[in-house]
Symmetry: C2
Subunit: 439 residues, 2 copies
C-alpha cells in the first residue's frame, strides 16, 4: 500500500460535512478501495463555531483558507464553498500551489470552465467534478469513460430535484405550483429562496457541463435557452396527463444536424411533455435521472439522488479515490475538457431548434376563433396534429374555454411568430402557453 494521501477541505456545509464524515468514519473501507489511506488533514470554514453534522478535532479546523491550500502535506484540495467568486480563487490558488482539485461546484465550472481547466493543464494537475452534476449519479464517469466508444447524440436530464419534486406533486396530487412549492420547502426539498432551482438556472449549469463532455461545446449558461417551472399552471399538467404525457423539467442537449460537415448541438432547459411510458416520465420526487443516447450503444439511463449530504459526498469521495488510485489523472489528460477549439459541434441558436409543441390557449367562446388560431399556425407552415377544446374553466368572469393544440415538428422561431400573432387575437384571454413535446 502506498503512503497516505492528505486532503484539505475548503467549506464544510452540508456536503462538506458528509465528506468529512466519510473520510473520518470509513477510513478503513476507503483505504482498501483507494489502495492507500485518505487522510483529512485540514478543514477551512468561515465560522468554526457553527454546528455541523460531523465532529472534527479543533486543531483540524481553521478559518485560514490559504494555510490549507498551501499546506505541503495536502496534495488534494476539495472545494465546497459554492458560488463563483471565492470558489474561483480557491481553485486557482490550489492548482497554482500544485494541488489536485475536487469540486462539486456546477456554477463555477459552467462559468469558468475554460480558465480553470487551462490552469490545471498548466499546473499539470487534475480537476475532478463528479458531484457537480446530479449529485450521487455517476454521470460524469459514464460520459467520459463508460461511453468513450460513442459519439453521444442526445442527453435528456432531470437535473433539478426540487423542480422534479414540485412537478411530481402537481401531477400526482393535482396541487397548484404554489402549494407544491410550499410542500417542497416544508420537507426540505426546496430552499427558502428557490429561484435558482425553479427557474432552470441550476439545471442549465449542469447541462453546460454535460454538453462540454459529450459534444465539446462551451456553452455559457446565459446562452442556453432556459424556462423554469415557476410559471407552470396546474391546468397544463392536467391536460398533458389527459393526452398521455407527463410534464418534466428537462435539460436537453442533442445533435441537431449530426451528419452535416458543420454539425450542431441544440441545448435547452424547459418543461417538456414526455410520454408517460418514457422512463424519464417515471422519475418521481427529488430524484435525478439522465438518459444518454450514444451512436454505438443506443439508449442508456442513469438515476439516483441528485442532492443531499451523503449522496453528494459519495461522488466527491469517489473522485478522491480515483485520484488516489491514479485513474483521474489519466482521464483528465485524455479528456482535454474545456480546451477550446476542438469541438466539431457548434451550438444551434435556440430559435432554430425544431420540436413538436403543446400549445394551450384560453379563448372567449366566439365563432371563428379556432379558424383564426389555425390560420396563424398555417401561416408559419406549422401542421396541427390534434386539437382539443376543453370545458370552460372556472375563475374567469366570462365564458372562457381552453384550447389545446398539439403540433407536428416545427421550428421554434416559427412557433414564436405564430404565438405572437395568436396573442394579438381579440378572443385570446391570456398569453398562449407552449411546451416542447418529446415522443
Amino acid at each position: 500500500m502506498s503512503e497516505p494521501l492528505g486532503i484539505g477541505l475548503i467549506g464544510c456545509g452540508t456536503v462538506g460535512s458528509g465528506v468529512a464524515r466519510l473520510l473520518t468514519q470509513e477510513s478503513e473501507r476507503l483505504a482498501t478501495r483507494a489502495g492507500r489511506s485518505l487522510v483529512l488533514r485540514r478543514v477551512a470554514v468561515r465560522d468554526p463555531s457553527k454546528p455541523r453534522a460531523v465532529t472534527l478535532p479543533a486543531e483540524m479546523v481553521t478559518t485560514d483558507i490559504a494555510a490549507v491550500v498551501r499546506d505541503p502535506a495536502i496534495p488534494i484540495v476539495v472545494e465546497l464553498v459554492g458560488g463563483t467568486s471565492l470558489a474561483r480563487t480557491v481553485v486557482r490558488d490550489a492548482l497554482a500551489a500544485g494541488k489536485h482539485v475536487v469540486t462539486a461546484n456546477k456554477a463555477l465550472l459552467a462559468a469558468h470552465g475554460p480558465e480553470i481547466f487551462a490552469a490545471a493543464r498548466q499546473a499539470e494537475r487534475t480537476v475532478c467534478f463528479e458531484a457537480a452534476v446530479a449529485g450521487g449519479v455517476p454521470i460524469i464517469r459514464a460520459l467520459a469513460e463508460s461511453l468513450a466508444a460513442n459519439q453521444v447524440t442526445a442527453i435528456q436530464g432531470i437535473l433539478n430535484g426540487t423542480s422534479n419534486f414540485i412537478l411530481s406533486a402537481m401531477s400526482e396530487k393535482g396541487m397548484s405550483y404554489a402549494d407544491a412549492l410550499a410542500q417542497a420547502q416544508k420537507l426540505g426539498y426546496a430552499e427558502a429562496d428557490p429561484t435558482l432551482d425553479v427557474d432552470g438556472s441550476d439545471a442549465a449549469h449542469k447541462l453546460a457541463i454535460l454538453a462540454q463532455i459529450a459534444f465539446g461545446v462551451v456553452a455559457q449558461p446565459a446562452e442556453i435557452e432556459r424556462h423554469g417551472i415557476d410559471t407552470i399552471d396546474a391546468l397544463d399538467v392536467r391536460y398533458a396527463d389527459e393526452l398521455g404525457y407527463t410534464v418534466k423539467l428537462l435539460a436537453e442537449a442533442w445533435a441537431a444536424e449530426r451528419d452535416s460537415p458543420t454539425p450542431t448541438v441544440a441545448l435547452h432547459v424547459a418543461p417538456v411533455l414526455l410520454r408517460k411510458t418514457d422512463m424519464l416520465a417515471q422519475v418521481r420526487g427529488a430524484f435525478n435521472a439522465i438518459q444518454v443516447v450514444g451512436d454505438v450503444v443506443g439508449e442508456t439511463l442513469y438515476q439516483g439522488p441528485g442532492a443531499g449530504m451523503m449522496a453528494t459526498a459519495s461522488s466527491v469521495v469517489a473522485d478522491l479515490i480515483d485520484l488516489a488510485v491514479g485513474r483521474a489523472q489519466k482521464t483528465f489528460a485524455v479528456a482535454n475538457l474545456w480546451s477550446g477549439g476542438t469541438s466539431r459541434f457548434s451550438v444551434v441558436p435556440s430559435d432554430k431548434v425544431r420540436s413538436r409543441f403543446y400549445l394551450r390557449l384560453l379563448v372567449r367562446d366566439l365563432p371563428g376563433v379556432l379558424a383564426d388560431v389555425c390560420q396563424a399556425l398555417a401561416d408559419q407552415e406549422i401542421s396541427i396534429s390534434s386539437v382539443i377544446q376543453h370545458e370552460a374553466v372556472e375563475g374567469h368572469p366570462e365564458q372562457v374555454v381552453p384550447l389545446v393544440i398539439m403540433t407536428h415538428t416545427a421550428e421554434t422561431a416559427r412557433m414564436r411568430d405564430a404565438i405572437a400573432t395568436i396573442d394579438r387575437l381579440a378572443a385570446i384571454v391570456t398569453p398562449a402557453v407552449h411546451y416542447s413535446v418529446d415522443d
Copy 2:
C-alpha cells in the same frame, strides 16, 4: 500521443463483428478518446468463409488462435468465443503470454473467476469485462469505481433481456408464456434454444460477477438459488397485476445480516413481484436495468440495452480505451477481484432467506379448504397479509377456484414446508405456485 496499441480478436460472431467494425471504422474517434491509436491486427475465427457483419482484409483473418495470442505486436487479446472451455484456454494462454485480456464471457468468469484473476495477477496483466454483465450498461464501472465510497447493500437486476421481453409481452398483451416466447424468437430476442436465458442460468452467471465486485463473495452459479420464467402461468401475471405488481425476473444480491460480525449476503435469481411504481417494474422489452443501493449514496439505477452487436461492442471498446489510457490497470490492481478470503460476507443458504411471498393455489371449492391452507401457514408461523379468492378458472373439469395469498415476511424454508403440507391437501388440484414479493 503514445504509440499505437495492437489488438487481437479471438472470435468474430455478433459481438466480435461489432468490435471489429468499431475499431476499423471509428479509428479516429477512438484514438482521440484513448490518447493513442487502437489497431486491430489479427482476428482468429473457426471458419473464415462465414459471412460476417464486418468486412476484414483477408490477411487479418486466421484460424490459428495461438498465432494471435503469441503475436508480439498484440498486447491486448479480446476473447469473444464464448463458453467455458476454449475460452478458458484462450484467456489463460493470453495472460501467460503477457497480454491484457478483454472478455464479455460471463459464464467463464462465473465458473473460473478465481483461476483467471490469479493468473492475471501472476502475469501482472489486467482482465476487463464490462461487457460480461448487462451488455451496454456500464454496471461494472459503476460498482468498482463510481460507488467506491459505498458498501453496496443491495443489487436488483433485470439482467436477461430475453426473459424481460417475454414477461413484458405476457404482462402488457396478456399472452401465454409459449406465445410470448414464440414472438421473442420471431423478433430475434430469443435463441432457437432459449434454455439458458429463460431458466435463469444466464442471469445467475451475471449475478455471480456482480456479487463478487459488490460483496467479495465467490458464488458458484450452482449455489445461487435459481428459478426461471419458463414455468410462469399467465394467470399469475394477471393476478399480480390486479394486486398492483409486475412480475420481473430479478437477479438479486443483498446484505441479509449487515451489521453482524459475520455478515451474510443473500443471492437469488427468480421471478419476483415488484410494485408497479418501482422503477424496475417500468423496464420493458429487452432492456437490462440494475438498481444498486449503497450505504452512502442510497438508490441508484443503471439501464440500457443488455445485448446486441453494437451495444455490447460499446462496452468491449470502452475496456480497450481504459487499457490504452491506463485506467484499467490501476483499477485492476486495487479491486483485487476473485482473490479469495478477503470478503467479510458469506453467502446465506437459500432456505434461510426471508421475503414476503405471493402464493397461488388452485383448489376444489369445498368447505374447509381455506381453513386448512391457513393452518398450514400458521403452523410455520407465517402471517397472512391478504387473501383473494378468484372466480373459477376455465379449462378444468371440476369446480376449481384460484386462491391468492400474500404473506408477511417469512423464511423460505418455512414457506417451503408450508407449501409441502398444502400440496398434500386433498382439495389442492395443482402444486402451489409461489414467488417472492419486493415492496
